[in-house]
Symmetry: C2
Subunit: 166 residues, 2 copies
Amino acid sequence: MPEKLTEEQKEFFMREALYEARNAKIIGEVPIGCVVVQNGEIIGRGHNIREHVQDATLHAEILAIQEACAAVHSWRLVDAQLFVTLEPCPMCSGAIINSRIPEVYFGAFDPKAGTVGSIGNLLTDERFNHQAKVESGLLLDEAKDLLQSFFREVRRKRKEKKRSQG
Amino acid sequence: MPEKLTEEQKEFFMREALYEARNAKIIGEVPIGCVVVQNGEIIGRGHNIREHVQDATLHAEILAIQEACAAVHSWRLVDAQLFVTLEPCPMCSGAIINSRIPEVYFGAFDPKAGTVGSIGNLLTDERFNHQAKVESGLLLDEAKDLLQSFFREVRRKRKEKKRSQG
């Protein structure tokens, strides 16, 4: 079982996930970041690098979970907590189930691909052999702003390109 | 769109996935194997190496998809077919959605963790932005036998160990 976190700790770790999300944004990736925590320390970090590596599996959560497994030399992260800026997709929800992470904190909901409340909830489905405690909406405004400003910028650049070509 | 496969081709590629599953068994891993195919050629292969690397994300499908993405320099595998010996879990079903693979063939159902028919069906759920055509039961007996004999052996060894310790 993971250590109980204070509200200050939760905010601190979500700020670290947001820091990772900004690292994704810097390199032109959709800004999503994640950290995995154990005993009050970050044991895994990751940000979305799908476009850079051209690999569909390289979401923030997968990279953070892989780093955490390496850090504790175990595929079982039964004492860990995962913080991610956006609601996990089916792949990342599945990675949370597979690594037995018992606590998940996320910022914004993802109505199009999220499977921790938006399109069903894989993490609380008792048909699987693992369930996680979930808390959503942590530093919601910052997570949302980061994504919205990123996509606003993408649309602006696309329009600009179109105009310069027309 | 992927090329249409003949029944002979489907069997050939599932045999390759079974070959990968046996590679997992040789090193003591649960025998699950996968290949990703494009234009009638294998562009990605993988077998479960969770225990060896102690990484919860290293399922056969994830490794095969990563290799396939690298082979075609794209995270979008829109012309690919995936063959796997066991029904994909939520993580691997999600990786199939994320990589836009339009055709999936699998051998045995996994009633405890499969999400392509057993516990819902993530690959045909129209709430996601991608669906895949699915064919199950391909070389079913061989896929099942491989898994069942593996777990029989695990139980036998466990009993033997217990007896030698008692």
